[in-house]
């Protein structure tokens, strides 16, 4: 890919006491690119983000922003903006003052910022006026204009979130960090704010790193998704790549709701993959036991195929989930909501939708999907 400006992380390692939180993390976010850092809580994604922001310092590795090494630089000098999970608005300042803080810190000297005295110094008023113009400029598209005089306590959760976003983008950051910004919003607000964040990202053109444990957010918003587990980035690719071609079992298991069906299968001497003694239509160079991964939506009821017993069903509205067993192995399939109830049925799947994983958990290359 060559050197990209924007955000580049190389070999980042971090330990808290005896606990190694990050292992050799590499990640690059180009300017204008939206990368979601997806992982369960405790996987180290927030720590990585805090290292980028300069709140924590990495034990090993380098952080580069716009080509410059900022690994040990002070947070204030990095031109990184961050939206915190709990908004982190200053409770004693109005919305307008909150948004203006990053500008005041950069454009006014310490003396000019002093109470009373600052207002008397030459230039302060002119700078403050342009600051307020900038605040108005970012507040307008977020619908904050009528709320600028309010304190955070007088704002709803969604409004606070917008103020936090405005504060982050008011100074045209080169890196834009968001730490689970939607986790405190209700479901309806979440989807509108999702679009707004993508919109803001487009306007700023910053390298955006978005930390989340919610795969729906990651898959819908991001240009690329970096899947992180136990302090390592396991895979980084477009949403389709990480969902359809997971690098290994852990990524496959983490993405998808309900989770992917992982079935014990066997590759015979001829390389044909068999599930419960029945040919799947998949071929592989591998021999012996394998794991066959099939997404719930790739399984379907058919007149013939693997005999299955339905054990439970969940009605979702637009679809239903059937819990069934193929032999002794439990599977979940997503079928149309009107599918007739029958405890005994047959299941089939298109071999092109199936994933094969070797004994080491890595996905087998292209699954060698030859049709039998």
């Amino acid at each position: 890919m060559g050197p990209v400006n924007g955000l580049e992380l190389h070999g980042i390692g971090k330990a808290f006491g005896q606990t190694q939180v990050l292992h050799e993390v590499d990640l690059a976010v180009r300017p204008g690119e939206f990368v979601a850092l997806l992982g369960p809580s405790g996987c180290g994604k927030s720590t990585l983000m805090r290292i980028v922001a300069g709140i924590e310092t990495a034990d090993r590795g380098t952080v580069r922003i716009g080509g410059a090494d900022v690994t040990r630089a002070h947070a204030a000098t990095r031109n990184v903006a961050m939206v915190f999970q709990n908004y982190a608005l200053y409770p004693h300042l109005t919305a307008a003052q909150n948004i203006a803080v990053p500008l005041a810190m950069r454009r006014l000297s310490a003396w000019q910022r002093a109470p009373l005295l600052g207002a008397l110094l030459p230039g302060t008023r002119a700078v403050r006026r342009t600051m307020m113009e900038d605040v108005a400029r970012v507040a307008e598209p977020l619908g904050l204009t009528p709320l600028l005089a309010r304190k955070p306590a007088q704002l709803s959760g969604g409004q606070r979130q917008r103020v936090a976003l405005a504060r982050a983008v008011v100074r045209d950051p080169s890196v834009f960090l968001l730490d689970e910004p939607l986790s405190n919003l209700d479901a309806a607000l979440r989807s509108t704010t999702r679009r707004e964040i993508v919109e803001i990202h487009r306007r700023t053109g910053a390298a955006t790193l978005y930390v989340t444990h919610d795969q729906a957010e990651a898959l819908t918003m991001a240009d690329r998704v970096a899947v992180m587990l136990a302090g390592r980035i396991l895979q980084c690719g477009t949403p389709r790549e990480v969902y359809e071609q997971p690098a290994d079992l852990r990524v496959a298991r983490f993405l998808g709701d309900p989770a992917i069906n992982l079935l014990e299968a066997e590759a015979g001497e001829d390389g044909a993959v068999r599930l419960e003694g029945r040919a799947t239509g998949l071929m592989t160079r591998q021999r012996g036991p394998l794991t066959l991964g099939i997404r719930p939506e790739a399984l379907e009821a058919a007149p013939e195929g693997w005999p299955a017993t339905v054990t439970a069903r969940e009605y979702l509205g637009e679809a239903q989930l059937l819990h069934a067993r193929i032999g002794a192995q439990p599977v979940i399939l997503r079928v149309p909501p009107g599918l007739a109830e029958a405890p005994q049925m047959h299941l089939r799947f298109d071999p092109r939708d199936a994933l094969l994983f070797g004994a080491d958990g890595m996905r087998l290359p292209a699954a060698e999907a030859l049709h039998a």
């Binding site: 805090r50 300069g54 709140i55 947070a75 000098t77 961050m82 982190a88 409770p91 955070p152």
Partner: protein
């Protein structure tokens, strides 16, 4: 509606509040009312019945030069002890909070004066400040300075007492500030960092000081009230002397009431004291409280 039930509940409510209400009436309200009544009488111990003399006690207080000295001394003492112990407590709390190690140790060291007995500690101070054998003056002598007679010169006695007062109060304030500091969300300090508050002073102005508002208000009020109440160090170390230079409000009240047995006059001083404390409380709850809570 179950009439009986709600009446039973009301009865239970009254019964449950009765002990606290009774304690309040007997231990707080009744003595206060008695003191107020006494303040308008010429009651002296052993003389009965007391006569109602209206505002005479207060008129006498107004003319009494001893009382005026005592009043001014108290103001000076409060004027030194309250601000120094508040700022000192804040400074110590910030230093200890920012320290990499030894937090528990320093917290304990500075809190020690709060839990130790002032009267016992006063003896130690008397030794420390002794003009000839005291270590303070010995140290000054090493620098070629002749130290004053800290507790027996009218120029320095109030200052010395104020220093002891600060020493007593600063640890208490520090602990309160430390509690206030831990209540500040970590995310806010981090937001300040990311927003460009590069120097510690910027972060203090942007986050710490405003968010410590409620704590500071409480600490200021407590410190004011505590220093207005100064009594034990004066009683043990100077007895108001020399020449009334360390006479303070409560000590004057004590001597009038328990040495000269003029309980009516002493009660009038108590009322002045109560009025000051009440005014401070009102200032806290009515005026300042609104400016430090952002919720």
């Amino acid at each position: 509606m179950r009439e009986g039930g709600s009446r039973g509940e009301a009865l239970a409510g009254w019964l449950l509040t009765a002990p606290a209400a009774l304690a309040f009436l007997l231990l707080l309200l009744a003595p206060t009312l008695a003191a107020i009544a006494l303040a308008f009488s010429d009651y002296e111990l052993g003389q009965w019945p007391p006569a109602w003399i209206g505002l005479d006690n207060f008129r006498e207080l107004w003319m009494d030069r001893g009382f005026r000295t005592s009043f001014v001394n108290t103001l000076v003492y409060v004027g030194i002890v309250a601000p120094v112990s508040v700022l000192g407590g804040l400074g110590l709390a910030l230093l200890i909070e920012g320290a990499a190690r030894g937090r528990t140790f320093f917290r304990a060291v500075f809190f020690l004066p709060v839990v130790s007995l002032t009267v016992a500690m006063a003896a130690a101070w008397q030794y420390l400040l002794h003009p000839t054998i005291g270590p303070v003056n010995a140290a000054l002598r090493l620098l070629g300075i002749t130290g004053p007679a800290w507790l027996s010169s009218s120029d320095t006695v109030l200052l010395s007492l104020a220093a002891i007062g600060v020493w007593e109060g600063v640890g208490f304030n520090m602990v309160l500030f430390m509690a206030g500091l831990t209540a500040i969300p970590r995310e806010l300090r981090e937001a300040a960092l990311v927003d460009g508050a590069q120097r510690g002073w910027d972060r203090f102005r942007l986050v710490t000081w405003p968010l410590l508002g409620p704590t500071t208000l409480f600490v200021v009020t407590i410190s004011l009230v505590r220093s207005v109440r100064v009594f034990d160090t004066v009683a043990v170390l100077t007895r108001g002397g020399p020449n009334k230079a360390s006479e303070v409000l409560l000590y004057t009240m004590y001597t009038e009431g328990f040495t000269f047995l003029r309980l009516g006059y002493s009660a009038a001083i108590t009322l002045v004291f109560l009025a000051i404390v009440l005014a401070l409380m009102l200032l806290q709850t009515r005026v300042l409280d609104r400016r430090v809570h952002y919720g």
